[in-house]
């Protein structure tokens, strides 16, 4: 138990969890206040982005070299870290969104969280853990303009549907495919290469 506690602390997981809880509470409070249907699902999306972003700092330890020389098989642990973090986000936000009048479907939250977590992991591999949030934030913010109620996401051609995967309804196959690809590739890349220093 002790090694796990130490690991979590070294990855500043308590702070990340605090942010996550903050997102859930904010989402719950806004859910009480907003009754516009599209607006509610948009808020869930924003909360998902914020919560997934909170994973990023935990993707690298305080000392890169120390991690590297440790005689530990990092790859599976890194993969587990990302997957568990994404699962916690989905579980907590999903549960919050189901309180009272459901704000958004569980499947939608899972798809978006999976894709975004993959993006964060990819960001950690390419830019380093501290800057890893740049990719998901920029992508999400650019897509927000076409999210209801502000706009309607395009339903063709396929590449546009893939680029706006965050805004697509759950039935959209290209969006699901994009999210899965991002999630898998991101997790794999992070498991293999770890965070850039």
């Amino acid at each position: 138990m002790k090694p796990l506690t130490l690991y979590l602390r070294s990855r500043s997981v308590p702070a990340g969890l605090a942010v996550l809880l903050g997102c859930a509470v904010t989402l719950w409070a806004l859910g009480l206040a907003v009754d516009n249907r599209d607006g509610r699902s948009l808020l869930v999306l924003l909360a998902t982005v914020a919560a997934v972003v909170a994973i990023a700092p935990g993707l690298a330890g305080p000392d890169h070299d120390l991690d590297r020389v440790a005689g530990i098989a990092w790859s599976p642990r890194r993969a587990v870290h990302v997957v568990v973090a994404a699962a916690i986000v989905v579980g907590l936000l999903g549960a919050t969104a189901q309180i009272g009048d459901p704000m958004s479907g569980m499947a939608l939250i899972a798809r978006n969280a999976a894709g975004l977590a993959g993006l964060v992991a990819l960001g950690a591999v390419t830019l380093g853990a501290a800057r890893a949030t740049l990719l998901p934030i920029l992508w999400a913010v650019l897509v927000m303009q076409v999210t209801p109620p502000m706009g309607a996401p395009p339903d063709r051609p396929v590449y546009k549907e893939m680029l706006t995967w965050l805004a697509q309804p759950i039935g959209s196959t290209p969006a699901t495919v994009t999210a899965v690809i991002l999630g898998v590739v991101g997790t794999l890349a992070y498991a293999l290469f770890g965070s850039r220093r």
């Binding site: 942010v19 907003v34 914020a50 501290a130 949030t133 740049l134 934030i137 913010v141 650019l142």
Partner: protein, 460 residues
């Protein structure tokens, strides 16, 4: 300063802002009609770029903290507010240049770049630059107070939620209160017919005061070394609010005033074809069909109009007043003209324009008679189309469709039928009926239009 630009993230932040903004201006919005429109859309987009600038500031402040030289630098005898000047200046410069680059990116998409540049666009751009500078300074302050790698990304999400999402949920559309002017982005006039409107001087000034106060507070918070000075740093914001809030209009739409220069008519030599200055580009398209329409009306009707005057849609996308008898109205501007009447409908090119001009014997449709968009008064459109067909002397090209584009429902008959019924009358009778129709349409008198054209009143 140059060192600061090289060692900080300022250049990257500016480039990122410019790239994001230019991408949005280019990709997500249709081509712009005028400079004014680009300026306003760019300001409206600040609901997104403003939080990004905030995050850029916060990120830079966090980087300073992370470099772990804070204590070392703190031992130098220069006071903190002097020490932070270069980085604040560098970030401000980056934000301002980023904003202007964004505008340049948007300007590429203006339809008529050499066209009318409204003087109202200048303060809108200037205040936008100011708001961006305020955003990075405020971001620097927040990043210093909350040094965490999560501050910057969460600021984007929170800022975007607060600026863009929540106001939309709680404020009724079209009825934004004047306090919306306090937001760093500028909600365009609603509905967005801001091409020929400018922001009133009062609204510009109160925004200026408020945003200067925000920027001052941001800088002071960033530069303050002690908690007590931080408290004092909030003063400018309070003073700014105290000045700006009483000056705000009651409703946002009051802040937008018409721009007489933009709507001033520019005409060709007689026979005159006139368009508002703002839509100068449409003059070339309008000239030839406009003159043809005038010639046709002069040949077939008594008291024909002598010039084509383009009218701008009012807030409901319709011409606002009864046009004089000597003017042939043509709707320009905005893509939301009444069905079948806009000269924006390029279908059929010059011929299509001619039909649009002569629709309803050269009149604009009357709002009372049009019906609702869900349930258009198809009989009314049929009568208008038939009048145009009589004037031009042939059946419209899209006989199976009504001008609105709906497939004709059975029961009302076709333009051909109405035209045949009209042609069955005596020549003078035809002429007086169409003239009566035009008069009724021009003044928007009540009554069944088909009755005027083909009915059998007692006077026959």
């Amino acid at each position: 300063m140059r060192i600061e630009l090289r060692r900080s993230t300022a250049v990257w932040a500016g480039l990122l802002l410019a790239a994001t903004g230019a991408f949005l201006l280019r990709a997500l919005n249709p081509p712009y009609g005028s400079w004014m429109e680009v300026a306003v859309v760019q300001r409206d987009m600040m609901q997104l770029t403003w939080p990004l600038a905030l995050a850029a500031g916060a990120w830079q402040a966090y980087r300073e903290r992370r470099s772990r030289v804070e204590e070392l630098v703190g031992t130098t005898p220069r006071p903190r507010w002097r020490r932070v000047q270069p980085i604040a200046a560098a970030m401000a410069l980056a934000a301002a240049v980023g904003y202007l680059l964004m505008l340049a990116g948007g300007a590429v998409n203006i339809e008529d770049v050499g066209g009318y540049v409204s003087p109202g666009a200048v303060p809108i751009v200037a205040i936008g630059v100011l708001a961006m500078v305020g955003a990075v300074w405020l971001g620097l302050a927040i990043g210093t107070l909350l040094p965490s790698p999560l501050t910057a990304p969460l600021l984007v999400v929170v800022g975007f939620t607060g600026l863009s999402v929540l106001p939309q949920m709680f404020i009724e559309h079209n009825r934004e209160p004047g306090a919306a002017l306090l937001l760093p982005f500028l909600p365009g006039s609603r509905p967005p017919v801001f091409e020929f409107k400018v922001l009133s001087a009062g609204a510009n000034l109160s925004q200026l005061v408020w945003l200067v106060a925000i920027a001052a507070t941001g800088f002071a918070l960033f530069a303050a070394a002690r908690p007590r000075t931080r408290m004092a740093a909030i003063t400018p914001a309070i003073v700014g609010a105290a000045i700006a809030i009483p000056a705000l209009p009651a409703e946002l739409s009051d802040a937008w005033v018409p721009d007489p220069k933009a709507t001033a008519l520019i005409c060709t030599e007689p026979p005159q074809v006139c368009v508002p200055r703002i839509s100068r580009a449409s003059l070339d398209d309008l000239r030839e069909p406009g003159r043809r329409a005038l010639a046709i009306l002069a040949a077939k009707l008594p008291n024909p109009p002598t010039r084509v005057v383009a009218v701008l849609p009012d807030t409901f996308g319709r011409p606002s007043e009864t046009p004089p008898a000597d003017a042939l109205p043509a709707l320009v501007g905005g893509g939301f003209g009444a069905p079948g009447s806009g000269i924006d409908t390029p279908a059929g090119g010059s011929d299509g324009l001619l039909w649009a001009l002569l629709d309803g014997a050269g009149t604009q449709p009357c709002p009372d008679l049009e019906g609702t968009p869900e349930d258009p008064n198809e009989e009314y459109y049929l009568a208008r189309r038939a009048a145009a067909a009589w004037l031009i002397g042939r059946v419209p090209p899209e006989e199976q469709q009504l001008p609105g584009g709906q497939v004709k429902s059975s029961g009302e008959g076709t333009v051909t039928q109405v035209l045949n019924a009209l042609h069955a009358l005596r020549a003078e009778e035809q002429q007086s009926r169409v003239a009566a129709f035009r008069e009724a349409e021009r003044t928007c008198a009540a009554g069944d239009r088909l009755e005027i054209l083909t009915g059998t009143p007692g006077s026959e």
